[in-house]
Every structure is written in structure tokens, then in C-alpha cells.
């Protein structure tokens, strides 16, 4: 198979698909040209992610990484969620084919983009957190 059983499970039965109407923040990354767009919705209370949902236009691994990434951050504090890496997402899925690694980066970027919006709504990213958002500058295709 192209994908691990874990990837196929998350693709066939994606967790957390949908929108959060009263989301605290959303993040959208990717573009139609390259065939992947991910949108993450976060519901945050007391610095804790109490719910996360996603919508994704993309290939099997894009959907699976969205599903896995949202699952990994639900219930986490923001500080914990900031530690999410694309590598951790890929590992949690028992790996991705090399040409699909950019999908896991996209998932990390989508979460970070939502958290960035959250901080910005609060007045800006604290200096000591800025490093976590450098990934948003990275080109997802150079992974």
C-alpha cells in the first residue's frame, strides 16, 4: 500500500472534520495550485484547546495529517500545542511516503496559523513564542 494502516484509518475515518462556528481562531494554509488547502478551527478556553476541527482539500495524507494533528492538540495547553511538530504528526501516523512529507508540515503550519491568529487577537505574539511560528515562513514543498 501507498500508505500505512494508520494513515488509511485517519483518511477513511477522519477525526474532527467540520467547522466550529464560534471558533476562537482559525488558520488556513496551502493553495489550490499545489492541491492542498487546510483550514483548522480552534476553540480555546483558559489557554487550553478544548476543541479543534478541520476542513481539508487535498490528498489522502493531507486529510489524514489534518485528522491526526487536530486529535493531537485537543485537550492540550497552548504551550503544549506549540510543541507540535510535523515530524511528530508523521510519526503518529506510522510514517508517510517521502513525497507526502509536505502534508505533515502543512498540518503543523495550519495549527500554528490558528494559534498565531489567537495571539494576534490578544495583541500579538509574545517574544518568547515567536520561534514557534518561524515554520509559517517555510515553503511546504522544500521539505
Amino acid at each position: 500500500m501507498l500508505y500505512s494502516d494508520k494513515v488509511m484509518d485517519h483518511f477513511m475515518n477522519p477525526r474532527n472534520v467540520g467547522e466550529i462556528k464560534d471558533a476562537s481562531a482559525t488558520g488556513t494554509v496551502g493553495n489550490a495550485k499545489c492541491g492542498d488547502i487546510m483550514k483548522v478551527y480552534l476553540k480555546i478556553e483558559d489557554d487550553r484547546i478544548i476543541d479543534a476541527k478541520f476542513k481539508t482539500f487535498g490528498c489522502g495524507s493531507a486529510i489524514a495529517t489534518s485528522s491526526m494533528a487536530t486529535e493531537m492538540i485537543i485537550g492540550k495547553s497552548i504551550d503544549e500545542a506549540l510543541e507540535l511538530t510535523n515530524k511528530a504528526v508523521a510519526e503518529a501516523l506510522d510514517g508517510l511516503p517521502p513525497i507526502k512529507m509536505h502534508c505533515s508540515l502543512l498540518a503543523e503550519q495550519a495549527v500554528k496559523a490558528a494559534l498565531k491568529e489567537y495571539y494576534e487577537n490578544l495583541g500579538g505574539i509574545p517574544d518568547d513564542k515567536k520561534k514557534y511560528f518561524e515554520v509559517l515562513q517555510e515553503d511546504e514543498h522544500s521539505v
Binding site: G18, A32, K33, G35, F54, F57, C59, G60, H141
Partner: protein
Amino acid sequence: MSDLATSRIYLDHAATTPVRPEVSAVINDVMNQHFGNASSIYMEGQNAKRLLEEYRDQTASVLNANGSEIYFTSCGTESDNWAIKGVALRNFGKKMHIITSSIEHHAVLHSFRSLEKLGYSVTYLPVDTDGLVHPDDLKKAIREDTCLVSIMMANNEIGTIQPIKELSAIAKSRGVLFHTDAVQAVGAIPVDVRDLGVDLLSLSGHKFYAPKGVGALFIRKGVQLNNLFDGGTQEYNRRAGTENLPYIAGLAKALTLADHEMKESSVRIEGIRDKLIDAVLASIPHVRLNGHRTQRLPGNANFSFEFIEGESLLLLLDHYGFSCSSGSACTSGSLDPSHVLLAIGLPHEIAHGSLRITIGRDNTEKDVLSIVPVLLKIAERLRAMSPLYEDYLNARETEYELCEKCYKDEEDK
């Protein structure tokens, strides 16, 4: 072990076809009984040689060629590379302009790219929204230093059939050699090299129920081109390598069978295809048919599903037992969607959501049409999780940044 679980429905005959039992039987016979090297002087070799020439004549007769104009190769890709690089390199330093279309198979396009690196100048002819090359564009493109025009007979993705006869006549009137990649056409529609007026024509066995790994190049008598394989004296000194007699036997057999059955088979397959197209367009919203409505291969249907990415579609179809393909880049490891779909003018996000269904001799109407409700279900499911569909429902314009870099990467390849 077998791929053909009873419940599976294979609808990707443009990618490859299963080997017909009559053909695998011939291959097995020849492999076990005639192992001689056709270049050898003794009995085993001379028997192989005699059979080889019989298969060559059989192949030629289906195409209305002479036996001495048929050269067996290892695949369609080899035939394309040989024809294109062979003619171009023959004219190295003399005529270094070559012409093709923008919707060719990569075997053709990448051969042109590699010639560009050696200093050739290339004109890529545009196509209209149906995928047709316009003869006037070819007329304008031919220059004093043009040595070759290569335009495919039928497109592998959208099935559009080009007016080869008209195009080759233009090349001929200007003294330019004309090659056609007929890999998708041979076995599916009538192909007569004299009527088409072509100088070179590529075909590949695995598109008409022979195995993968055998093809042929028709080279009209008198046409000069460099060899791609230098070495022994096989294939009249033009294509070295000990001859693969079993597969050549299989190719000749499969081609002859396809020729005999063509009329009946193509009417049947075309009928199923038209019902499929009508049913899909009628029952699923936001779907368009790609390719020319009538001037297309009998078994080909190509749709774009808005708001949906192709690989996800294919994975779900596979789950439900259907084998199809897509023009989405995600399935091929590149990031840009099919150059064919872009060339006919589809925007990227639409091109990414394309699905190719290609019907073959083993498909029944019932089997093929059973995909329609499944497609509807899958389309609904994927759209429900698509941010593009959400935007559409909210009447918002999609406005994500375009990735210039990955487009450029694709261009640079």
C-alpha cells in the same frame, strides 16, 4: 494472491490492460518452445527468425505497413524516444527546430525537453478547450530549419483524437517528417499508416491486452534516423538487442485480435461510455466532462469534480472496489496537476479534481454504471470536508496565495 478479486471493477484501461488469455498462451508457448536467438544460424535460431518475420508481417498488415517498416521495441516510451531523438540527432547542427503539442505524453514531452538541453529549439503547439491542435497553428510554426513534427494521435488523459491526416499533410507539404504517438489509438480505433500519411508511428502492446514491455515503431521506407540502441545487427541494423520473441508474438496476436474485434467492441464500449457520461453529468452537480465530446477514444471518460482533490477520490473509489486514475499531481509525486488539463484551460483547483475512467473489453455496462452512485456518495463526502466547497457555499471567492515556486519547479523539470 490475484489482483482480480471478484468484487473489483477495473476501469483504468488507458493505464494498462490485463493480458488476454489467448495472448498469454501464445507467449508461454513461444517462451517454452522457441528460445533460439534469431541471429543464430542453426535450427533453433532460424526457427526463431522465421517466426519473428511472421509476427512482423502480421503487425504490419494490421497497420497497412510493409513488414520491413515495423521495428519492435521494448515499449511505447522507447518508440517515442527513438523516433524523436533519432530524427533530431540525425539533423544535429543542420535543422534544429522541432514541433510538438502541449498535451503529449511525457515520453514525448520529456524527449523534447532533453533535446532543448542539447540546443534544439522547440515549438509547443497550443490546443483548444477540447484538446484539439489547430492545423493553422502547425502551418505557422513550421520553419526552414524544422526537421520533425510529433503530435499524438489520441490523448491518454482526455481521449481527444487529433486530425492527424490533415496535420501530417501540412508537414509533408513542407518537407518535414511527421511522427505520431499512437500508443492510445492502436487497438482502439483504426490506424492505417498510409491513410494517415505519417512517417513514424509509435505503439505499445500493453494498451491492447499484450504485456507491458513490448512496443513497435513504424518507420516509413526511406526515413532516416539515428539509432537509440547501438549494438548488434538485429531489426535490420536499426535496433540492437536480442529479440524478445515471446512478447513480440504476444503483441502480434493481441493486435490481430483487436483488429478483428474492433468494430463490434468499440461500438459496445462507446455505448457504455456515453451512458456513463450522461449519468455522471446528470446525477452529480459541479462536474464537467473534459475532452472532445465525440472526437474521442471509445473507452475514455474524463471528469473534473469541483472542490475535490483527485487522490482522495481515487483512494475512496479503490476502497469501494473501483480502479480509476486521476490527473491530479498528488498521485504522481509532482505538485502540479496534469499538463493536459491545464493546457485545455482548467484552473489548478479544478484540474486537481479530475477523474479518468477508461473502459475495456472486460467491462459490462452494469459494472461500469455501478460506479455512478458511488461517485455521488464520495463527492458529497469529500465536499463536506472541503474548505473550497465551504467558500463556494458562503459565496466567497477562494483567495489563497498561489504557489509560484512549485509551478516554476514543474516548468524547469
